[in-house]
């Protein structure tokens, strides 16, 4: 390819030619989602707030997973990721922008408006009672007078409404009266304080913004200059970034999702969210890459083998997620300590049992057995089916973490339209930004040192070219 050809190709490529209908989909989603969200806000505020969190965590996981794929490329210098790296970079760059979607959560985080479904409330009380009994027993044994002093205040001081993050209520109570019945919060008060919590989410978004935008900046710079220096800078960023990524993802998962039930313990929660995130993200990248291959921009860049490698990594994460989630359940089941088991006891009651089964089969067995064969990994009809399944199951997984807090008997299904509204609104908004990003820049890293390799073109070494007399 001559230099002249390259520039002309570059000019032609950034234009993303979407079919007429596909270009409008994000806008339609955005408007429909906004209507549903507005209706949901007035219909059932506590369900709306939790549905918002579910879909926020859903999209956050896709962006975090994409960030991880970019880091993975630079850490392992893998050639096959090059062709889909720009897609992952744009998805990752949505991370700092998601702060806009997070601000509502930060606003209502401490306010007490959450109504729990009556049966569930009864169950919670029972469970809280059990936990208090157990901790009292433990306190008696250890002679921990400090904690039992606080449990004398046991009982519900609030009038049927809980705070979104209930520990914030306990903190306020403790600050106002100097007492709290919430031993779980008291024991964890070093970490669970409103000020520190605010600091943490600001830190997370800031650090994601820095790393994702810097990684893309160098990558885009390389499109122009072709300098190896850009790759080197990105490698340094990735080497530091992977540690930062692990820390911030764990903070995000614990603060925003696990923090809803601060009494609970699980050392695997961060990696559990990570496994689900990368899983969903990889299939999303697969579908975007497949779409861009069919519509043109990545026609010759994304090859059969790229899709196969992408699907293989997705397959690996199917197993990894199952391994992590099984381990979390297994350890809690085996130890059988009430402070830990209550989380799963709640989720084995009523309809949530079925959702749990759905996760076991739909999140693991079905995709695992479907993708065992090597040839299905490049078949679009199979992979699109798997993608729809994966998105649905990841949504179920997020709901499984968040919704049992307020719903025990079917209330989730009655209000599912609010969830769909939130998903549509956020999906529409984020995909509009993604398409904007994609149109702005070249569709793939054009001068990456490994671009020829990823396209399956053999470029002879200088010495080889010389030997063959060219």
């Amino acid at each position: 390819m001559t230099a002249k050809k390259k520039t002309s190709a570059k000019k032609a490529e950034p234009e993303l030619k979407l079919p007429e209908w596909a270009g409008k989909v994000p806008l339609i989603l955005l408007i429909a989602g906004a209507v549903l969200v507005l209706a949901g806000f007035f219909a059932d505020r506590s369900h709306f707030a939790h549905a918002w969190l579910v879909s926020f965590m859903f999209y956050l996981s896709i962006c975090l997973g994409a960030f991880f794929v970019v880091l993975l490329h630079y850490l392992f210098d893998s050639y096959w990721i090059v062709s889909i790296r720009r897609v992952a970079e744009h998805l990752a760059c949505l991370l700092p922008l998601m702060v806009v979607l997070f601000i509502p959560i930060a606003i209502w985080s401490g306010s007490e408006f959450v109504e729990v479904e009556p049966d569930a409330a009864h169950h919670h009380e029972e469970q809280a009672h059990k936990t208090i009994e157990a901790t009292e027993k433990a306190a008696d044994v250890s002679g921990d007078t400090h904690s039992s002093a606080h449990q004398e205040e046991a009982g519900h001081s609030h009038e049927g409404r809980l705070a979104f993050y209930q520990w914030m209520h306990s903190e306020k109570e403790y600050k106002d009266t100097g007492k709290t019945h919430d031993h779980a919060w008291f024991a964890k008060r070093g970490y669970l304080s409103k000020g520190f919590w605010n600091l943490r989410w600001i830190f997370c978004f800031a650090i994601w913004g820095f790393f994702t935008w810097m990684l893309r900046k160098h990558s885009l710079e390389q499109d122009k200059t072709g300098a190896a220096e850009c790759t080197r800078k990105c490698r340094v960023l990735a080497a530091v970034g992977v540690f930062v990524f692990a820390a911030t993802l764990t903070i995000a998962a614990i603060d925003w999702m696990k923090g809803l039930e601060h009494q609970w313990f699980s050392t695997m929660y961060g990696v559990y969210y990570f496994a689900g995130s990368v899983w969903t993200s990889l299939i999303t990248i697969y579908i975007i890459a497949l779409f861009l291959k069919k519509t043109g921009p990545l026609k010759d860049i994304v090859r059969e083998s790229t899709l196969k490698d992408n699907a293989t990594l997705f397959f690996a994460f199917t197993v990894f997620y199952a391994y992590i989630h099984f381990s979390q359940y297994f350890l809690i089941w085996n130890a059988a300590i009430p402070e830990e088991t209550f989380w799963y006891v709640k989720r084995e009651d009523g309809p949530w049992w079925n959702v749990g089964m759905l996760i076991i089969f739909g999140h693991f067995f079905v995709p695992f057995l479907m993708l065992l064969r090597i040839d299905v990994k490049t078949r679009p009809e199979v992979m699109i089916t798997v993608a729809v399944l994966a998105w649905f199951l990841h949504f179920c997984d997020m709901s499984y973490n968040i919704m049992p807090l307020i719903h025990r008997f079917g209330g989730w299904m009655q209000n599912i339209w609010i969830d769909i509204g939130c998903l549509a609104l956020m999906g529409g908004a984020l995909s509009m930004v993604f398409i904007y990003f994609f149109k702005q820049h070249p569709p793939y890293p054009q001068k990456d040192p490994r671009i020829a390799e990823t396209m399956g073109v053999y470029v002879p070494l200088h010495s080889e070219a010389k030997a063959s007399g060219k």
Binding site: F326, Y329, F330, W333, N334, A336, L372, R373, I374, D375
Partner: protein
């Protein structure tokens, strides 16, 4: 009938190549000619050779899969029989048999038998172990461990004809073609 060679049965025709690319293109021509009982011998794995030889994806996976399933359910069955049926063993107030407690062991059994299945299936499909191969007594063939590439068409092949096959191999550009006996 005066030399020992007359009593020997031909094993096949062996064609030598100097580069992997030549061997690859020769393989493509042999494949297109419709031969079925033939092989390419190289000092190292040559990318694209599977396609050039027209080889399908290996069937070893089926051995792994079936043996893995046997391992999983065998492991479950073993624990159920030992801890629940034959000699009930209550631990910590938990059920004598639970798929959760048994899962790690059943999973290990899946991997163990899956690995056995892969190894056994590979040996079976390759018709190994085999004590002797006619090519091994050919002195020239020893170069296959160094820098030579060989395409060998067996005499058992239904399309095999000493003259025609020789011509085909000559056309692929081999510098050295030799008849190997059993």
């Amino acid at each position: 009938m005066d030399s020992l060679d007359d009593y020997q049965i031909p094993y096949g025709l062996m064609a030598e190549f100097g580069t992997p690319a030549d061997a690859l293109h020769a393989a493509e021509k042999v494949r297109d000619a419709g031969y079925t009982r033939w092989d390419v011998h190289t000092p190292y794995a040559v990318h694209g050779m599977d396609e050039a030889m027209g080889l399908e994806n290996s069937q070893v996976g089926w051995f792994t899969f079936i043996c893995g399933l046997c391992g999983f359910f065998g492991g479950m069955l073993m624990i159920w029989y030992m801890n629940s049926y034959d000699y009930g063993l209550p631990v910590g107030g938990k059920p004598n048999f639970s798929p959760f407690a048994s899962f790690p062991v059943a999973y290990e059994m899946t991997i163990l038998l899956g690995a056995f299945g892969s190894l056994g299936g590979m040996l079976f499909l390759n018709r190994l172990p085999r004590l002797h191969h006619p090519l091994l007594k050919n002195i020239r063939f020893a170069e296959v461990t160094h820098d030579r590439f060989y395409v060998v068409i067996e005499a058992d092949d239904p399309k095999y004809d000493e003259e025609e096959t020789h011509k085909l191999l000559k056309k692929t550009g081999s510098k050295h073609i030799e008849l190997v006996n059993e």
